[in-house]
């Protein structure tokens, strides 16, 4: 129920993992095996978006993804997102408008928005972009400032 070596590229670094059980979720691999605690566990059932990270650039719920299913992929977590120019802009916007209260939902929002902007560019309509963030919940309910951060990123987009 484990496999010998599993290869991933994590935040740009080739990573080989030993004996990862096949039932292990990417969320647990990232947090407990790799020690990258920026990715958060909220509901663990796909409902909150706190665990969102990028798999080959695409926003993915790490709580619903088997690590073995993404073998060979590039994983970007919030710890590595600033190495990407779009990710760095998103992070700066959240900081600049103060879209962070307790911060638990923030990595998920930052990763989802980064993935969306990389996928669709600034062509995506503002309303559509907000709808596309509906899977990320903020339990502090700081949505107004999150919406301002989204607007700020769009304004600064090339």
């Amino acid at each position: 129920m484990t496999s010998p070596v599993l290869r991933l590229t994590v935040n740009g670094r080739p990573t080989a993992l030993d004996s990862v059980p096949v039932a292990e979720r990417l969320l647990d691999t990232v947090r407990w095996r790799l020690g990258l605690k920026g990715t958060k566990e909220g509901c663990r059932t796909g409902g909150c978006g706190a665990c969102t990270l990028l798999v080959d650039g695409r926003p993915t719920l790490s709580c619903l993804t088997l690590t073995h299913e993404v073998e060979g992929s590039g994983i970007t977590t919030v710890e590595g997102v600033s190495e990407d120019p779009v990710g760095a802009r998103v992070q700066a916007a959240f900081e600049a408008v103060g879209a962070v209260q307790c911060g638990y939902c923030t990595p998920g929002f930052v990763m989802t928005l980064t993935g969306l902007l990389k996928e669709r560019g600034s062509a995506e309509a503002f309303e559509e972009l907000l709808n596309d963030l509906a899977g990320n919940l903020c339990r502090c309910t700081g949505y107004a400032s999150i919406v301002r951060a989204v607007a700020a990123v769009r304004e600064k987009s090339p």
């Binding site: 129920m1 496999s3 059980p21 096949v22 039932a23 292990e24 979720r25 647990d28 407990w32 095996r33 566990e41 663990r44 059932t45 796909g46 409902g47 978006g49 969102t52 798999v55 695409r58 926003p59 993915t60 719920l61 619903l64 993804t65 088997l66 073995h68 299913e69 989802t112 993935g115 969306l116 996928e119 709808n131 596309d132 509906a134 899977g135 990320n136």
Partner: protein, 288 residues
Amino acid sequence: MRSARAVAAFDLLTPATAEEALSALRSAAPGALAVLAGGTDLLFDLDDGRLASRTVLSLRRLPWRTLAWDGAALTIGSTLPLRTLENDPGVRTRLPGLYAAVRAVGSVALRHRATLGGNLGRSAPASDLIPILLALDAEVELVGPEGARTVLVDRFVQGSRKTALRPDELIRAVRIPEARPSAYLLQRVRPFHDISHMAVAVAYSPRRESWRVALAGFPPRPILVPEAGELLRGPRPSSAEVVRAAETAAQLAPIVADKRASEEYRRALVKPLLERAVRACASSGGAT
């Protein structure tokens, strides 16, 4: 490994070809193997003990993540992530009802893994994809030991977790015979990332010159309401026809209550949703 929920342990098979996948299915004892596409339904069934399978057959290496237009027909590979389907410009312009239905499924991050094959495999009463597939007369392509067979979605879907899939078969693709003016509208507490209380899918077939009306959100499964479709004539039905069709659907459909909504509330939703959906569809008229 620390985790808030119990995680069921299992083995994973990752065949690279359909033949290997089918032979693994054939040689497994009944119920021993669970088929995994995006896993957004299956992992819950495993963790919650609804499935006793201790081996999981992953479809990720199969060459089924495809999308192919052939004239007005569209064939969607069963393991294509829903987000990729949504990003196809043809789907957005030529099948607006399908586009709206795909966007109604969960969140973007969910749709990057969830698949159409998985949605049909789960066959949930509140599926957002089955009703529009019914309105589009879509067919499911199945492969098994004796080769391929094709089944209308209306025959394939039988109830919650009940389908016409045989234990030794896999869903390979879904075929939509023609692009159609179409619409999908729903009622939820939140418009995105929530479960539909009531949903309406409509499509007009230019080839058959007829309408299809489907309803979903209540058990046991999404359904076609032919009596409503027959009352609509031509690509732009009259207001009187639209109202009669909506009233007929609200009256005749076998709508029931469940923990999410009462029968009365659901019936009351049919009329406005159906009227709006037909009008949206008629005004998108020449979109194919």
